[in-house]
């Protein structure tokens, strides 16, 4: 499958990429690892007039601690995130999500920023970024702004990213020491995209769950934080009954997707099962 013709522009720096974006207008697309954009271009679901290649911008590939946050550059590959000991110690669900994406070759090339910009409803990233209360930094030639993950994802392949904007960084607040997190997933057996992906992050003190964050991907056309599950467990001492009751509330407030892999009813059932598994894993 051959994509339609386009003008290829290579950006050597963020500044250059933003200038190119401003110049080329809404007909331009950003290319990083290409593992979301190329498949869409091959199927001609996307036929940009110009492609701005940012994969050579070394300054966009990093994982580091910055004050109270861990920050990840937009061009960091899933593979590098999956191998990060810093992330694995502080926010394990991020590393677990990265390791669930595709296969080694896909993780060697695909980037976190590219996946977020594409916003596939079955992508792995959104659940753990929502549960981790991540912020996404967007740059344009007129400046920079930071958007909470919960406001970034707006629908099927739809985000808050403006036409002249570029994702530069993902910022994750470092949770306090009594926080545990995980990402669990029921995958489509061929594509390995999430049919249901659930991330849970729980901070405990004196035996009770102080702060509970549970988020889903794959379930609805927009990834979401599930406050019904969170509230059912917050302030409670974890027990099998409490976990079961909280998990039962999963995906109640959203329109659940259905397709030939998993009907609406089955997906909703899976959301409860995976909520329970995630909560059990974190609270065990």
């Amino acid at each position: 499958m051959i994509p339609s013709e386009f003008e290829y522009c290579r950006a050597g720096s963020v500044e250059e990429a933003l200038d190119l974006l401003a110049q080329k207008g809404p007909d331009a697309k950003i290319l990083a690892g290409g593992h979301s954009l190329l498949p869409a271009m091959k199927l001609r679901l996307n036929s940009p007039g110009a492609v701005i290649d940012i994969s050579g911008i070394g300054e966009l590939s990093y994982i580091k601690e910055e004050g109270s946050h861990l920050v990840i550059g937009a061009c960091t590959t899933h593979g590098d995130i999956a191998k990060s000991t810093l992330l694995s110690e502080k926010i394990p669900m991020i590393v677990e999500a990265a390791a669930e994406i595709g296969d080694v070759q896909v993780r060697n090339k695909g980037t976190i920023g590219g996946s977020l910009a594409h916003a596939d409803p079955a992508a792995d990233w959104p659940a753990s970024l929502l549960a981790g209360e991540a912020e996404i930094v967007l740059a344009s030639s007129s400046g920079e702004r930071t958007v909470a993950a919960v406001d970034f994802f707006q629908g099927l392949f739809t985000t808050d990213l403006g036409e002249n904007e570029l994702i530069t960084e993902i910022r994750l607040p470092i949770p306090d020491a009594y926080t545990k997190s995980t990402y669990v997933k029921f995958e489509q057996p061929a594509s390995r995209f999430a049919i249901v992906g659930c991330a849970a992050s729980i901070t405990r003190s004196n035996g009770s769950c102080d702060k509970v964050r549970v988020a889903f991907t794959g379930v609805s056309s927009t990834p979401f934080r599930d406050q019904a599950v969170e509230q059912a467990l917050e302030g409670q001492a974890p027990s099998d009954d409490n976990i079961e009751a909280a998990a039962e509330k999963a995906a109640m407030s959203v329109e659940v997707m259905g397709d030939h892999f998993a009907s609406q009813e089955y997906r909703k059932h899976l959301a409860k099962v995976y909520a329970r598994r995630a909560l059990q894993a974190v609270l065990s």
Binding site: Y8, P39, D103, V104, Q105, K109
Partner: protein
């Protein structure tokens, strides 16, 4: 058209390419290195796996223009000095049947063994999970990689199970 310079199996090439040319087509058609196969063309099957700056990637999902200035290794470069231990392993343990997936398997396994010279069977199976084989059921491919790992470490070679040969 864009001019790119790329080193493939140690040889530098400078070519004019259409920006929409896929890397796998550059390798197969412009450079006539047809060992790299096109299977699914959707980054699922792994038949087009090559090494880009030492990392295994699927060349059907990269534009040729993106590899300007980079180093590529394809299956043709493996046997520069007699069969590579992986190629020998695939031969000795019957790690292939039709052979379509083999170049991709080999290139994936090169990186796998470089990062992990002594992988467990499970690590090998996860390691090649982005490469599909529709003939062998993977058992002999895993054995082939174990054979190569032993040979590259200088260990005694595993005895080939007569049941599977």
């Amino acid at each position: 058209m864009k001019e790119i310079t790329v080193t493939v199996n140690g040889v530098e090439h400078t070519l004019e390419v259409d920006p929409r040319l896929l890397l796998v087509h550059l390798i197969r058609e412009n450079l006539s290195l047809t060992g790299t196969h096109i299977g699914c063309d959707t980054s699922n099957c792994g038949a087009c796996t090559i090494l880009l700056d030492g990392k295994s990637i699927k060349s059907c999902t990269v534009f040729a223009v993106q590899v300007n200035g980079k180093n590529i290794a394809t299956v043709e470069g493996l046997a520069a000095d007699g069969l590579h231990p992986l190629q020998e392993g695939f031969k000795e343990t019957h790690g292939l049947h039709c052979g379509f997936c083999t170049p991709g398997m080999l290139m994936r396994a090169v990186e796998l063994l470089e990062k992990n010279p002594n992988p467990t069977e499970e690590e090998i199976r996860w390691g090649i999970s982005g490469n599909l084989c529709r003939c062998t059921g993977y058992n002999n491919i895993v054995r082939a990689i174990q054979y190569a790992a032993a040979k590259m470490r200088g260990d005694e070679l595993p005895v080939t199970d007569p049941e599977f040969v």
